[in-house]
Structures are given as structure tokens and as C-alpha cells.
Amino acid sequence: MGMENLLWLIPALPVLGFLINGSLSLASARTHNGPSRGLSGFLAVLFPLIAFLLVLKLHFGLHDAQEVVRAQNQNLGLHLALPQSFTQPLWSWIATGDINLSFGFAFDGLTSVMLLFITGIGTLIHLYSIGYMAHDRGFARFMAYMNLFLANMIVLVLGNGPIVTFLGWEGVGLCSYLLIGFWHHETANNDAARKAFLVNRVGDLGFLMGLFLLWQILGPSTPLTYQAIAEWFRDPAHSAALASGVVAALLTTSTLLLFLGCTGKSAQIPLLTWLPDAMAGPTPVSALIHAATMVTSGVFLLARMSDVFVHAPLTMQVIAWIGAATAAWAAVTGFVQTDIKKVLAYSTISQLGFMFLAVGVGAFDSGLFHVFTHAFFKAVLFLGAGSVIHALGGEQDLRKMGGLAKKLPITFAAMFAGWYAITGLPFGAGFWSKDLLLEKVLLQGGTALYAIALGTAILTAIYMTRMMILTFWSPSRVEHAVEHHVHEAPLTMQVPLWILGIGSLVAGFAWAGMIPGCSWFPAQLASIVGPAQALFVPVEHEGPSAILLAGVGVTASLLGIALSFGLFRRGAFREKSQAPLSGFAKGWTLAFDTIHAVVGIWPVRISSWILEKICQPLLSGLVRLFAYIVSLVGLATQWFQRPRLRVNLSMSALGLVLILIFLIFHARTLL
């Protein structure tokens, strides 16, 4: 089976791209234009593309391997287990005492789904970046960072255990920091980058502590791989231990801490304030990192460790409620934003909340399905927004757009597809995933959560339609100076828009519940999240039919769209002022920043003030006192250190006498 040996190549290829582009960037640091855009862009797209093809090959390879065994079973009447994954242990990472950590990769159904869209959409966004960043001096540096991000994201997904995942987890955090602060000549961008990094540190600390607690439960001799963890939790021999009070409490703490890590990376309550600020980065970064891939790694981790989380019912409750609360809060916030990218950022947070809600009620596969479809439609929305910003020469304020549907038809068509998907209109990608999700929430989570989710769906339709109206349909408010050279994006930017636009219309058919045969997606995940999901007995066995629920969902979307048109069609958004948010909008948007300030920042500032004004003088006074004492002693002992042979000899003789006295009269009794 040669397939396994290819696994390391998937992250290695983007690393190669990073090294080449990084070297190009460094080598040309002193030139005026930097390295050739063509060369560096070609390389940056080439390596992710090869990685994508490799993932495809492995995907079908795994499928073939399973078919071979299935055929054998059928022909020979055997019951061999189907191969569920390719694994490639690369080297022993830490081997000390009982602990034996191996560094390796594992490729199974979940990984394959994640990698397909990470490398696929990643390649498209790289292609898009060639056009978007063409006039930027830091082109090669940008491409290098993007490739590095992709490599780390692949490591995160492909790692055979949480420690390897953590490596990628930190790596994507670093790349996120580098790319948010990519235009580092503006302080605001650097502040945003630092904020993202610091907020993520809090989450990462939770991740690590949760992991170590989990390891404590498993015992150090358990190899820390996902497979071993899943097997440990699936083993009936351990169910008694898991039911005991101490272990259950430890497990709840551990999973809550792990979930804290997920809230940091996936911008959930309470660690969500960094994501809207992260829009300071270039738009392709927002599309790739802060919409399609990195921010979904929290959901990925929960699904990966689903066997652990299902044993902590309290944590699952917390996840579901935090997901619902985040979704609702962010949807309201999205409603009052004036910056097109901020709208999309809050929309991302809201959709991530949906995913966590699904995971929290035990529907891991539908949560992941929403990750999958969201990657398509949110990527196309961001890329479309990028195209609009590009056309308007950097303008991001919705109040200065309008009437762009005729001027930017391709961008409009692509964003329309994204809008169609996210609002959940029939047969778009969001229709399938969101309705499935709502159905699971109603069956397994109860009516309260369902009501919140449905309300959020209406809000989603409202604010997304508002964004579309203000950008494309309402009368133009574009400044005249800008209006003259509004132009459609270059081909490198259009191709990804086409592909992703089509993708956001059809991606949902990977799991179209109502159409028989369209269940590729859950089949992929069955072996990973199936046992965990089987533990969740729906609250209501006899729920309303799927068709009825889909009808409710579509009605909600239509209601939202209609409301939005009613509110904004007449151009209610007439004011042309550049005024920042104020009043309710400001208070609501910055709610969590305020909480962070009160809970985190002000205590630190106060304690640092105390340290600086009170403790620091005390300590330095103490240090000075000691220094003074030492210098006094030095003055006193200077006398002995005169450059005189006789004095030195006398002192050493005295010392010898003392040592001899000790040896002769005391050490003898000691011995």
C-alpha cells in the first residue's frame, strides 16, 4: 500500500512553496518591485494545486481500498473490517518514561473531506490573490505566508493526534497574525494582528490544559493519537470509570477547556472579538483563513474528539447554548454594520455559532456539513466583496456603494450565488446544510434552541439581503471620482469566483437528505463520528417531517428577505456620512470588547500599575541596598587583596590551618 507514504507530501508541498517564495521575497528585499509576479504567483498556486490533486488521489485510493475489502468479503463470505484510514507514523517525537508520542499523519474520511475543501478552496484563493495583490510590493511575501498557512492548516487536519494538531493550530495562529498585520505600515492593522494573537493565546492555553487533563484521565501510557483516544472511550471496560464522580468532573473540566481553545480559534463567545478586527488583513486572507478554513478548526477538533465530548453532557449543553448565543448575537451585529467585510465577518461568527450548535446537540456530521458548505459560500462572498473593494479602489463602506449590479456583473452573479446559498433558499448549499442542522437541533436539542436558531436564520436572511441591496441594487452612492474607473476584476480573480459560485449552489448535494443517493458526505464521516452520535437519542422520536421543517426554513428565509427589501429597498440608507457606529449599534457590536476590558484588560492594567509604581521601586531599592552592602564588603575586603605576596601567603596559610583544624578535630568524628 504505497498510498500511506504520500501523506507527508501534502503539507510538504506548500512548505516548499513557502520556502521558495520566502527566499524570493528575502532575496529581492532591496529591489523596487520585488520578484516577478508571474513566477511567484505561479509557484504559489502550483504547490497547493498539486497538494489538492494528491488529496484527490488519496481520497479515491481510500475508497478503492475499502471496495477491495468489501468485494473480498462478498466473494469469500468474510467479515473483515474495512480500512478506515491511511496512517503514516513519521518519527517518534517524545519518548521518555511511559510517555511515547509519535509524530505522524492519519488520513480518514473526515480528514479527506476537510483537506478536499482546504486545498481546493485554498488553491482557488491563491489564484484569486494573484489578481488581488498584483499591485502590492509585498506580493511574494504574501504568497509565502499564504502557503505557510496552508501547510499548517494541513498539519492541523492531518495530524494523527491532538499534539500534532496543536502544532498546526499554533502555526495557523501565527500565519493569521502575520497576514492580518500584512500591511504593517498602519498601526491599526498591527493592533488587530496582536489582538488576534493574544485572544488566541487564551484559547490555546485552554486547549493545552484540557489536553493534559484528558491525558491524565487516559493515563500516560495511552498513545496520544485520535485513534487510541477514540478506542479508549469506545471501550465498554472504561464506562464504569467514566461514570465515577472524579473522572466525570475531570472530563467535564477537560472538555470545557478544550472547548475554550475552540472558542478562541473559531471566534465564539467569549473569545470572539478578534475576528471582526482581523478584517484588517487583505481580503483573500479573510476569505481563506477567517471564513473558510482556520476558523472552522474548532468544529473540526470537536468532531475529531467526538468520542470524548459525548461523555461530558454538561459540556455538550454549554457548546450548544454558546453556539446559539453566538449565532444570534453575531446576526444582530451583522445587521448594524456599515463595512462590507465586517458584515461578512459577523456573518461568519454567526454561521460558526450554527455549527457549534449542531455539534452541541450531538449532530457532529451536520455541523461539519455546514462547515463544508459554508466554506464555499462564505469564500465566494468574501472574494466577491474583495472584488467590489478592488473595483472601488479600496472602499469598504456600504454607504458609499450601490448600483454595482450592472457595472460588475460577474462579481454580482457570484455573490448572488453566495447570497442564495447562505439565506437558505431552496437547493442552494445552505438550504441543505442549514435545514438539516435545524432539524437535528429540533429533534435533539429541544424547542428553545430551535427557536433561537430559526430566529437567527431570519436575521441572517435580513442582513445578507441588506448587504446585497446596499451593494448592488440600491441607487448608486459611489463617489464620482471613483465611479469613472469602476472595472470588473482580472481573469485570475474571476475564475475562482465562477468556480466557488457554482460550488455554493451545488455543494449541498453532497448530502441532500431528501434525494436518495445523495449521501456521500455522511458516509465519509460515519466511521469517525458515528459511534459518538449513536449515543444521542433524539429528544422527540416523532418529530415533524423533514419536508415540513424545510418548508419552515425556507419560509423563514423568504420572510427575512421580504423584510429586508421592505426596509432598505427605498434607499433608507441615504446618509453619506462616514460617521463610525454609534448608539445601540456601537454598544452591541463592542459588547464583548467591553466585557474583555472589564474582565481581562483593566485588571491587568491596574496590577501592572501597582507593579510599576509600588513593587518596582521597592524591588529596585532592595537591589540597590544589596549592591551597597556588597560594595561596602568589597571596600572592607580590599585590604586583603593587596598585590603583596606575603599577605596572600599568610592568608592562604591561615586558611590551610582552618581546613586542617576542621579535618583533624571535626571531620574525624564525622567520618
Binding site: 599577605v647 599568610s650 592568608m651 596559610a653 590551618v657 586542617l660 583544624i661 583533624i664
Partner: protein, 183 residues
């Protein structure tokens, strides 16, 4: 009993002369006092049945070595060594450390008196020329084996002579100013 009396006399002379070495102002006085100490020690050597070493002590030590010292003192008689004080500010410190070392040794040796295993052995052979040469060059199982060391000492003496000649020669014909500059 007479041995004790002689020992007391020799010991008193030796210590008195040693103190004279310590506190005499002119080196020639010190050298003379040192010869007195050595002669007294030679007397003590013969008291404890070591006539050969007593002879060597007088011939080599008090005779040859001290002769050399006195010769050099006289060569350098023009030096201003009288102006150097016998005991200066550092003196008490040196006296203290030397005295404490001596006191420690004495404290240790006083304890020897009541140790049966370190009593004097009246049957020990006399250290006359024949016995010592047997020990040095003899071929018995328990004697001898010192011959190589004896030869090595000869080489050391030769080296010392060569070194002394080189040291003295270089500076004898080198002007002082050049030597200063060279350092």
C-alpha cells in the same frame, strides 16, 4: 638521662638561633644564626643514632650551602637591605598565621605521647654509613631500590647548576636599562 640534657641544650640553641634568623637585621647575621641552628640539629641527629646524617648536615648544609649563601650576601653587600624594616605592618599577620600553623602541629604531636604504637624503638639500627649505603644501593629484598632516585637527584643537581649559570650569565653582561625595557 644525659641524652635528655644534651637534647635540651641543642633544642634551646636551635630555637634561639632560628629566632635570631627571623629577627636579625643584616643577612650575614641571619646566615650565621642559621649555621648555628644547623649545627645544633646535627648534634640532635647524632643523639638519635644517625651519625651519617649528622656528618652530611655539617658538611653539605652548614658547610657548602650556607657558604654559598654567605658568599652571595657578601657579593651583594652594597645593597640597601638595611633600610628594609625587620617587621612592618604586615608582620603581625604573618606571625599569626605561622604561629597558628605551629600551634596546630604542636597540638597534634602532643597527642603522640600516649600512643603505644609510636613509641621509640630501642632496637632500631644505627644510621651509620654502611647501613645507609646498604639501604640506598643494597640488593636485599627490603633494601635498595633507591639507586635510580639517587641518579635522578644527580641530574636535578646538574640541571640546577646549568640553570644557575644561565640565569647569572645573562644578566651579568646585560645593562640594567635594556633589561627594564625588555620587561
Amino acid at each position: 638521662m644525659m641524652g635528655q640534657v644534651y637534647f635540651g641544650i641543642f633544642a634551646a640553641v636551635a630555637v634561639f638561633c632560628a629566632l635570631s634568623v627571623m629577627f636579625s637585621r643584616h643577612p650575614i647575621n641571619g646566615a650565621m644564626a642559621l649555621i648555628g641552628t644547623m649545627v645544633s640539629l646535627a648534634g640532635i641527629y647524632s643523639l638519635i643514632a644517625s651519625p651519617f646524617l649528622a656528618t652530611i648536615q655539617i658538611l653539605v648544609y652548614a658547610g657548602a650551602i650556607m657558604m654559598l649563601v654567605v658568599f652571595v650576601i657578601m657579593v651583594l653587600n652594597s645593597a640597601k637591605e638595611h633600610t628594609i624594616p625587620v617587621v612592618d605592618g604586615m608582620g603581625p599577620l604573618g606571625l599569626l598565621s605561622a604561629a597558628s600553623l605551629g600551634a596546630l602541629f604542636i597540638r597534634v604531636f602532643v597527642g603522640l605521647d600516649d600512643k603505644a604504637s609510636v613509641k621509640m624503638n630501642p632496637q632500631a639500627p644505627r644510621g651509620d654509613v654502611e647501613a645507609i649505603s646498604q639501604t640506598l644501593f643494597g640488593s636485599g629484598t627490603h633494601t635498595g631500590g633507591w639507586a635510580l632516585l639517587f641518579l635522578a637527584i644527580g641530574l636535578v643537581l646538574l640541571t640546577a647548576i646549568v640553570g644557575a649559570v644561565l640565569l647569572a650569565k645573562r644578566h651579568l653582561d646585560t645593562p640594567i636599562a635594556q633589561t627594564e625595557g625588555g620587561h
